[in-house]
Structure formats: C-alpha cells, structure tokens
C-alpha cells in the first residue's frame, strides 16, 4: 500500500484544472470556426459582373448575384477589395445581399495618384460571414488608367 501525501493531491488537482481548461479551450476553439459557419453558404454560387477597365478618380460599380439552393442566410455580406500595387492602395467596401441574391458594390478609391499612366489592379468580390470569409470569391486583374 502506498500512502498519498498532500503533494500528490495537489498535483492531481492542478492537473485536473489544467485538463479542464484545455478541454474547454478545445471546444471553444473547435466550435466557432469548424462546423457551424459552414452551413450558411453550402450550395451557393457567386457570379459577378466586373468592369472591363478602371479609371483613376472614378467610382467603380459592380453588380453580382448569389444563388443558393436554400434561402440566402441573412448573416452573409458581399465585399469588394481593390488593391493596386502595395497595401496603401487597399480600398474595401461591403454591402448587404438582397433576398433575391442581388447586390451592388461601389468603390471610391482615394489612394495617392500613381506616377504611371497605367497600373495593374486586383479586384476581388467575396461573400463573407460575421466570423470568416467563405469560399465564394471571384477575382479579376484589371488595368487602371490614370489621366495625366
């Protein structure tokens, strides 16, 4: 028979508390990102009408449609991201998606005027939920013309 002292009792207590904390952590870390959000955009398809070219100083307008097998979840939003060269040009705008899946996105780039008369830009439209970005994305690389 082996006697259990207060050191062993304290160790067992400390280990239990640590394990409980880890278990709680595991469920917290697993839940919000892994299963629940996925259901919101299952069976959805995104289509976007991108402009043919961009002009510096002009507003960019795009229309798009989200088609889902089931209803369109109210937490889903459409987001447009424009980037021309480095991150300082990053322009973002977000809009609600109507019940029929249609959305209109407008961007007003206000970054510093590029020194060349033409720059390459990346224009992305994606569907996001409150917590994460979904797989529904369309992207186009476009030329932005800069008037002298």
């Amino acid at each position: 028979m082996v006697a259990i002292g207060w050191r062993q009792i304290l160790s067992i207590l400390a280990l239990n508390i640590f394990t409980l904390w880890l278990t709680y952590g595991y469920f917290i870390s697993l839940n919000p990102l892994t299963v629940s959000s996925l259901q919101m955009f299952r069976g959805c398809v995104l289509s976007v009408d991108f402009p043919e070219s961009l002009h510096y100083g002009h507003e960019i307008t795009m229309t798009g449609k989200l088609s889902c097998i089931d209803r369109i979840h109210e937490e889903l939003l459409a987001q447009a991201i424009l980037i021309c060269g480095d991150l300082s040009s990053l322009t973002v705008n977000t809009t609600r998606i109507r019940e029929d899946g249609m959305f209109i996105l407008k961007l007003n780039p206000s970054f510093q005027k590029p020194p060349t008369d033409k720059v390459l830009c990346s224009l992305t439209v994606q569907i996001i939920s409150k917590t994460v970005s979904t797989e529904l994305i369309e992207k186009k690389t476009l030329a932005m013309f800069v008037a002298s």
């Binding site: 952590g25 595991y26 919000p32 990102l33 996925l38 060269g85 991150l87 970005s133 797989e135 994305i137």
Partner: protein, 605 residues
Amino acid sequence: MKRVLELGLPFLLIFTYMKIISLSGLASVMLIRRWSMLKPLNMVFLNDYLDTLIVSVATLILMIFLAYRYKSLQTYVLLVVSTLSLILSVASHLYSSAILSFIIILYSIVYVLFIVKNAEFTEILRTFFSAILLICFLSFSGWILYLTYGGINPYRDPIPLQDIGTKLLYSFSPSVPIIAIIFLSMPLLIFVLKPLTPIEGSKPAEIFRKFKQFLRRLEVELNNLHGRMHVVWSIIFFALALLIPIFITLILYTDKVNPSNMVIGVDIMNYVNNINDVLSRSSTETEVFVNLMKTDRPLSLLLIYHISKLLNINIKTFSMYAPCFLAPLLALTTYFFSKNILKNNLYASLTSFMVSLGPYTTASLYGGFLANWIGMSLTLVSITILFKALERRSFKILTASIVLSILSHLSHPIPWSFMTATTVVYGLFSFFKKNKDRLVLRFLWIYALTNIFFDIFKTRVIGFSGASFVAQSTISAELSIENLLNFWQINVFMFYFHVGGAFNFPPVYILAILGMSLFLQWRSMKTDYLKTWIVISLPLYLLGPDFFQARTLQNIPIDFFASAGAMMVFYYLSQRDRISANLFLLLILLTYLNNILTFTVNLPF
C-alpha cells in the same frame, strides 16, 4: 496472407481516417489569396456513399482473412463488427460506418502486431509512411505544376493533387491551440507531475523507466551520430534551408503568382516610409544616421538604406527582395546555434530547415518582419558566442557576444528583450543552484547587465527609442487579465487569422512536444537556457492579445525543440528499420516544402 495484412491495414487506416474527417463536417481556416478562408475538409474520391461502401467492404474482406487465419474469439468479433459497419454503410449511416471501420482496422493492427505477433512492425511502418508520402508527393507535384503552367483558379478547390495533402494536414489544425499551450507549459508542468511518479515495480513505472533510459541513450547517441546517411540528409536539409527562401521570395513577384505585382509583407512599406521620412528631414549623411538612431530598430533601417544605396536600387525594391538575404542569414545562424546545443550536423541542418520553411518564415513573409529577421539572427549568434565564452571561460569571447547582443538590440527590440529576459531568469536559476559555478554566474550577469545598461542609456539618457521604451508602452497597454479570461478566443484567432494563419502548422507543435520531453530529461547549460526561454514566454502568451501571442511564438526557439522531436523519432525508427527512418525524414521534407509553397503562393491578392 501476412503480406496482405501488412499492406492493406495501414492503407485502409489512412483512407478511413480521411473519410471520418470528411463526413464529420470538420472545416479549417486556410489562407487563399491572402484571405483566411473557412474551407470544409471534405475528401471525396467517387462520392461519399461509394467511398464509405468501399472502405467497409475492404475492412470486411481483411477481417475474413484475419478470422480464417487466426480463428480466435477476437477475430470473430471483429468479423461481426465489420459486417455491422457494412450494413450501416449500405443503410447510408456513413459517418457511423466509417468510425466503426476505423476502430476495427486500428484494433486489427494492434492484434497482428502485439497479440499474435505475426506481422512485421517495420513493414506496417513502411507502408504507412509510403502512403502518406504518396499524398505529400502529389501535393508537391500539384504546386510545381501550378507554378509551371498555372491556369487553375485558386479560389475554387485546389486541384485534387494538392487537395488531399492539405486537408489531411489541416485535419490536425483544430488541436493546434491545445498542443501549443501544452508545449509552452511543459517546463512548468514537470513540477506538477514530479510527485506523481509511478509505484516502484508497477507496469507504468517500468514503461517510464524504459522511456527515460531511451532518452538518456539518445543524448549520447545524438552527440555521436555521424553516419553516411546523416551526412547526405544534413547536406540536403541545409542546402534547402538556404535556397528555398530565395526561390520563394523570387516567385512571390512572378506574374503567375502575383499578377497585380503587389508588395508582399505588410510592414515593408513602413520601412520604406520611415527611411524616406528620415531622408526628407535630413540634409547630411550624419543627420540621416542620427535620425535613424532615434528609432527602435536603427541598425535594420541603416542596413536597408545603405545596401540599397550600394546596390543602386530603390529602397522599396530592396525591401521587397530583402528576405532573399535575411532568410538564409537566419538559417545560417540557426545552424551554428543548434550545432552548439547538440554536436550533430543533422540536428543543426534540420533545425535551419524548419526555421526556413516553417511558420517563422511564412509569418515573416506575410508581415514583412525584416528587422525581426535581422534581430533574431544576431540574437542567435550572440547566444552561441556567449555559450562559447562560458565554456572556455574567456572574457574576450564574452565581449564579442556582448557586442553582438547590442547589435541585436539595435536591430529589433523584441528578440533582444526575449534574450535579455532569458539570461536574467537563467542567471537567477543558476544563482540558487546548489553547485553553482561563480565564474559562469559572473559572466551571465555581466552579459545581462551590460545589455540592460545599454538600453537604459539609449532610452533614458539620450532619449531615443529602445527595447524598454517599447516594452513599457506595449506591456502596460496590452497585457491584461481580461486577455487571460478570453485566452482561447484570442488564441484561436491568432492561430487561424493572424499573419494569414502562418502559425497554423500542426507538425511543429507535435514535434516540439516530443523535443521538449527530451530536453526536460537532459540537464545541460544550453538545454536549460532553451527551457528558460520558453518559461519566460508563457506569461506574455497567456496575458497578451493576438499579436503578442504571435510575436511570442515567433521569438521563442520552438523549431529547436521540434527538430529535437524529429531526431527522437528518427533515432527510434533507425533502431528498428533504417528505411522507415529515411521515409520519415522525407516526409518532414515534403510536409515543410508543401507548407511554404501553399502559404506563399497564396500570399498575393
């Protein structure tokens, strides 16, 4: 019959695992074109129904073989349960069927290996590694094809070649926050576990004793292993550690990967703007020097400014391509530092490989942490030389290490702060030791105090920015009990979203836990120093916000532990089967290569 089981069971085990992950609805966050995106980990070959049906039929066939061969109660039970799995799969209870098949296969492996002992462990290992290697190789080929031919829309599911490998790896990512915190807590957990030693003579005590013996033997062996295969692997890993980051930086700015030619690295424009701002305010070179010295990372800025001037390229272009120089520099310093810890070339080159292709580099590329790269390299050199000074008891070498530590301070305050705090805490531990070496203690205190006085001089006397200044402002503003209460939410965000989820790479933490268990058994000045480094990081990790946690992970020697863990597995496998040991190293190589390719190819918009 034996061969069928040795080949069939491992393959089926992996395949069934994939189906369980797929059918569970598990998802993970992946970086896709610079966006952290939630993706389901569904792995479908024909369709879910047929896949599961094939698994259950294959399991049933193997169980018929097993029951026919061994004719025992256990094999008959396995046969009945596998029939049940088939019925469930036919009735469309796919998830339950896959779980049942997985348990049957797992138990069958245990049965043939340990109960009837009629299968070769080495054969099962070889098949297991070969199957996973095949998946990793397909992923790697997928990226090479993408880089060569392009043409795939990266927003859609990656082509099947990359798909399975990535999803298999990310199936472990939900456990990453847990494994990481276990690793960081291990040096303290050992004190909690100490009173719980198993009862003498019991089975757990026997296992524990054998494990300890294995670790002690490993300490001797790892310092003396220099076989031919070691040399070959060392060269491969070290060459890749030096070359891959250069290649990766260059492909980041190719048309195929980055068609809009965006600058990669969030902070890069800050460096460019800082230098340009100083240049616009200064009329002479002396003024440029003084104004740059006022910042918290003057050496890094001076290096960027002078090298770009010397090469006659603009500051922005040089900063964009700076990782080409900085990553190999860190690989080199890591090599010498690890060679100093263990006298083993393979360990040293594997550590540099893990630093160059692992989360440190991917996070640095995303963030553009140029100064941290320089600071970390100088910190590692400084500590390597400090160890040399302590071994040789040479004041001259100590002076060199202090000079390098001050250069590290001037490069970036964070790695320097970690190094100084580690030295102070390690000095305190050494002070309270029974058999303390007074000269070693004196050297440590000279090293730590000179650094602290230098920082006080720079920040408080001259009034420039520096480590204590940065630490004071950020620690008082950012560390809080509230962060500890919300630890898991912050930590999960950090792993999946911060710097594009660069730290969400499970193998590092799994191997680091193994490495830590090894280092906890070893009592040497160098391994104690490394453990102290981890101990001092824990409060920051627990009390800090996401960017604090990320910087902590980046500035602790996690890869040194991961590499030791890999060496432990390699040594264990070498004792049983050399081929499996080599397959394991090949698996590490391909997993890390795929990691850096998956991450960097997705860095630009």
